[in-house]
Symmetry: C2
DNA sequence: ATAGTAATACGCAACGCACCGTATTGGTGA
DNA sequence: TCACCAATACGGTGCGTTGCGTATTACTAT
């Protein structure tokens, strides 16, 4: 039985302080203006302690996203049993977020971060990193007979998230009616 | 109309050299590693000449995109009369591009640039800045009776481009079969 | 038990580098 | 004459790395 670890254990408080500082500054200033030195100062920690554990800024942000520290909780997909209604409600929430300047900034920053780190892109795709996954919700819809058995669930999920991303990038907010149209265009009911 | 212009006119050769250098370095190193000083050196021009005409790096890139200097020409949407076949062919071209490492890098860089500049995002949405627009092609499909009259053309376009963007960001290439599935999921034929 | 040693983590401070955006200067051509 | 240009310099900011001194912990030899 192999060697017990020697030396001081990693400081949990430092780890937490760094992640929280990252989340705070990410929300305040966005991904672009995030700096390691700024995070270190905000967390009350030395730069080296960050560099020791995270190779790059993007990995730090990825860890934050993984811990759900970057996104408002209202962005997870509901499951009331009615797939169409759930998707529309979820998209409307997203569109509403994009209309608030800070909300759009947050989304843009997430996309920018995804640009630097595939993991973040994956999380965005599996839709916004929350507990519940968009694709899983679609699969539930298939089981409930609200979607054809052979519906390309993964593709539909990518199309939905992608449409939102394009709206964010091009700066067209997207209204409630757009959410309805998009969902109705994508969701072909079974036979 | 008065204004005689006084002094020397803007140097067209400097303008071109700057745009071409930007395009070259963008393709080589990506948006992240693009620097004004690097562009100036590559173009054989002083920094001031760049700052005089473009307020920010992202505007410079936007101008390049506008002039079609950043994208391979094969990414424009064909119009053979068969909407479904055209869309599938176009998506397959895109997916193939994403499978080449350089191609994916190019797309990621474009997305990163869009993150910093709404105009670039708009160009991406109108799809990839070429002469032909994806939405226009869809509209042609409506006229040809290959799509329902009330098909939400704009939303479909965003969904298609968005799906591709999500694939690029999350690092899943996307194969030919995916293109077919996606198009068939989105395109509901008229009645 | 108690010291000593080794391994590890930490904060602090400083380094050279790249790039930023802004002057200033002097040359050149309409 | 005066707008354009190249060249050069400047103060800032952030990068990623290094060296230093100090805790904290486990192993080991007394």
């Amino acid at each position: 039985m192999p060697n017990q670890r020697r030396g001081a254990p990693r400081s949990e408080s430092a780890r937490l302080a760094i992640l929280q500082a990252t989340a705070r500054l990410f929300a305040q200033r966005g991904y672009e203006h995030l700096s390691i030195e700024g995070i270190a100062a905000e967390a009350g920690v030395s730069k080296q302690t960050i560099y020791r554990w995270w190779p790059a800024k993007s990995d730090l942000v990825a860890d934050c996203l993984l811990d759900g520290m970057l996104l408002p909780s209202r962005l997870t997909i509901p499951d009331t049993g009615d797939l169409r209604a759930d998707l529309i409600a979820w998209l409307e929430q997203l569109f509403q977020l994009l209309q608030e300047p800070d909300g759009r900034g947050l989304m843009i920053s997430l996309i920018a971060a995804a640009t630097a780190n595939e993991q973040i892109g994956g999380r965005l795709r599996d839709s916004l990193g929350g507990e519940s996954s968009l694709v899983a919700r679609l699969a539930t819809g298939v089981e409930a007979g609200q979607l054809r058995d052979d519906a390309p669930v993964a593709e539909l999920g990518e199309a939905l998230v992608g449409a939102m991303i394009v709206k964010a990038l091009s700066g067209r907010p997207g209204e409630s009616a757009d959410a309805v149209r998009l969902v109705d265009a994508l969701l072909v009911p079974p036979d």
